[in-house]
Amino acid sequence: MFSLAIDYVILVTVATCGVIQLAAAWSGLRGLLIARHARASYALGTALIVGAWAWFVAIGDPAKPGDLTKIEGAEQFGLFLAGAAAGTLLTALASSVTQWRAPLRRDRSLEASPEGLDALRDDVWLRRIATRFSRKASRD
């Protein structure tokens, strides 16, 4: 559809969203789930991974015999990291939107919650970031 490099980044971005859904559901990171329930998240994650591959294969198989189209190894790895970062950010934003009103947790103070990804067991990413920045601004 686009150039192979862009198609590849889209594949990795969407598949990353799927992988994060599976991993977050498995690890109980409810704030990262786009769907509210773990079972739905497993289904969504699988659908995103399979769908991304189906799309990538459907737009043309770059590995078919005689086709010289290819992404060089180092470039492919760089594009993978870019796609994975984009997929992570996209998941954090999408889950924040879909779970914003979900009754994940009542006490929203930073002190009462764990750090890092563990804070997303019971809160959404965007709210944690917003709370963090508003706290920092009020302190400054």
Binding site: A23, A63, D67, I71, G73, Q76, F77, F80, L81
Partner: protein, 194 residues
């Protein structure tokens, strides 16, 4: 050693053309995209996996070992390729059955093997069970590359060793530079992404 390498190559490459189903499966497994992406995705998933913060921190370390190892293994293959040229099997032996496009970069050592086994080693150093799953993917990928006529077995073995050793060395270096690594992770953790 070289003659044994060519003999094993002929035996594996001789499997091509007997069944279109087999050829299609090998074509998929040897693809530049399918297994490399699945292997790297499986390693990346570890970033989010862990029932406790401690378990997740270990898994995140595995992904960092894998990613840094793979990046440097890629670089090392490029350096070796600049000094050593071994023609691809289909260039050296025109009767080779090729299931794929025909790359013209050097055959030795295999960049594909270096990458796949660098990722495998990074994960295996921390999470044996997950490492075995990824290793199965790496073996399938690299054997398929030989069957598809892209590499000699020796290219794969040397690439795999280079990938494993590179990851091991950089994993040890990361362990030494642990305070710096922890500081970097703390920044990512501040953003609730680690």
């Amino acid at each position: 050693m070289i003659s044994a390498d060519v003999r094993i190559f002929h035996w594996l490459n001789g499997l091509v053309g007997r069944s279109s189903l087999f050829d299609n499966v090998v074509n998929l497994l040897a693809s530049d995209f399918f297994l490399p992406v699945m292997i790297t995705m499986a390693a990346f998933a570890l970033w989010f996996v862990g029932k406790t913060p401690q378990a997740r921190a270990l898994n995140q370390r595995a992904f960092l070992y894998a990613a840094i190892g793979a990046g440097f293994a890629n670089l090392l293959v490029r350096i070796v390729n600049g000094h050593l040229y071994r023609a691809r099997p289909f260039i050296a032996m025109p009767d080779t059955e090729v299931l794929f496009y025909r790359p013209h970069d050097p055959s030795f050592p295999s960049n594909a093997a270096a990458f796949a086994f660098a990722i495998t080693a990074g994960v295996f150093l921390v999470n044996r069970r997950w490492g075995m799953v990824i290793a199965a993917g790496a073996v399938l990928f690299t054997v398929a590359r030989v069957i598809a006529g892209m590499h000699y077995p020796l290219d794969i073995v040397s690439g795999a060793l280079l990938g494993i050793l590179t990851t091991w060395v950089f994993a040890k270096a990361l362990d030494v530079a642990d305070p710096l690594l922890q500081r970097m992770l703390a920044v990512v953790r501040w953003f609730h992404l680690a």
